[in-house]
């Protein structure tokens, strides 16, 4: 058959595009201003696609539960976790994190967990958003 895909191509022409236009239908010229507008209620944010059930996003750290055993430091593949000897607590640098959730698995007190948060892009690797402590 010469044009075996023609039916699929025509069907495709009348389908809605799959792309979810996050955060807005047209890319805003200034993201900061756009976010300020969203905050003021002037603009609307198109929500992102839902994350899957086992999604591994930004690490959550429950400081109270942590006993300072340093096991997470031992298994972290990218050396993203630092130990604070005075407080006996840890500090996680998300700029280095590879989101494997191995520290969650080894933690004896379950003080670490993965959240759904994935908007972590930042120009500064040491910004406040990218350090969990």
């Amino acid at each position: 058959m010469k044009f075996s895909m023609l039916p699929s191509v025509f069907a495709q022409m009348f389908k809605k595009p799959w792309t979810n236009k996050f955060p807005a239908k047209y890319a805003p010229s200034n993201t900061t201003n756009f976010l300020a507008d969203v905050g003021a209620g002037k603009a609307k944010l198109i929500p992102p696609i839902e994350t899957p059930p086992n999604f591994r996003g930004k690490i959550q750290y429950d400081k109270e539960k942590c006993i300072g055993c340093q096991l997470c430091i031992k298994v972290c593949p990218c050396e993203a976790i630092e130990f604070k000897p005075k407080e006996k607590k840890i500090k996680i640098f998300l700029a280095r994190c590879c989101f494997c959730s191995q520290c969650n698995d080894i933690c004896p007190t379950d003080c670490l967990s993965m959240s759904d948060e994935f908007l972590l892009a930042d120009a500064d690797p040491y910004s406040k958003d990218l350090i969990v402590e």
């Binding site: 058959m1 895909m5 591994r56 593949p77 191995q102």
Partner: protein, 410 residues
Amino acid sequence: MKQTATTKTTYHIPIGPIHPALKEPVFFEFELDGERIIDVDVKLGHIHRAIEWASRKRNPIQILYMAERVCGICSYCHPAAFALAVEDAADIVAPERAEYLRVIQGELERICSHLLWAGVAAHEIGFDTVLYLTWQVRERALDLTEYLTGNRVTKAMMMIGGIRRDITKDMLPRIQKDLQYFKDCYNKLGKVFLNDKTVRMRSQGAGILTEEDALKLCAVGPTTRASGVKKDVRVDTSYFAYGDLDIEHITPDKLTGVVNGDVYDRIIQRLLEVKQSIELIEQCIDKMPSGDIVAEPKLAKLLAQLKKVTGEGVGRHEAPRGEVIHYVKFDGNDAPYTWKIRAPTYNNILPWIPMLKGEQIADIPIVAASTDPCMSCTNRVGIVKDGNKYEMTKEELHRLSVEKTRRLMK
């Protein structure tokens, strides 16, 4: 006046080290007579990232995630082969359920990888509609991967002595629904790839690798099976749960009755393997026993156990591109004494030489891509002809390939 200098009838073009059709940086030097390729020379070793060296200060659990980053498309088979090697050295036996779950992940990765390859192959011959159709199906496969593992590419699934995430009962309907979708698409894509005139014209009789050459040059995976060599680690040695499953060697003559060993046969081979993978996942879901998914749930204990290990282990796994071998040796420290990887593409590089001899320049992209080498992008080709240097960019090479398709269509 008598001409003193002899006229050169052949000229050389270097391709690489960085080229879109070569998935890893490899350097080719072609000797050409007009459009015909007379001789090919391949040079390796441009992408040494010292991964094996970096492993010497990490413990086996950390290395799992480093193995995952050896290759983006094979982000499951490298940790799988590494875990097999460590289990071999430390005498750890994974529970039965984990073995079935490992097969499911491995086969899902094969579906993703072969669909990706099919799209790239279509793109190389200038048939971009098929690229989008194939990758539409692949998107669904990636969504399923994301649903099962939490991530699309770096899955972080493998654990020494088991697997990290279970497939629960409520996940099964989604898996079955997606497998049904793949089956429907398999028929549709099969028609496009096997009956379409454009694909046939460019792939039949191009890049022939004979059975003898495939055996002699130790080709692995779909490349060697497409030449009629029955070589498949899943069948030849029993690992994971493959021993319990109904699996046999697949060669293109299953569909067409003859083995030609050309690019067309490699397309058939990969399509048949996608079908086989879908069937294997279905079998696994049916036969999967209940039970634990890791041999040692306490990771601190596992680390202490691995620290005491002395000796060596070898792990072999049938990756989408062929057999991947990991060798690991422990000497009683945290980190292994040595770790060596043999990726399948390494074996599939020498078969390029018999494949490319006698072909045209425009056939280089599709023939080089037909072994599914591991890809890194952006490239240019420099042509040195009669002392003048000029460059052939990726776009130009692609244009030549598209032009040949158009020429044949007339």
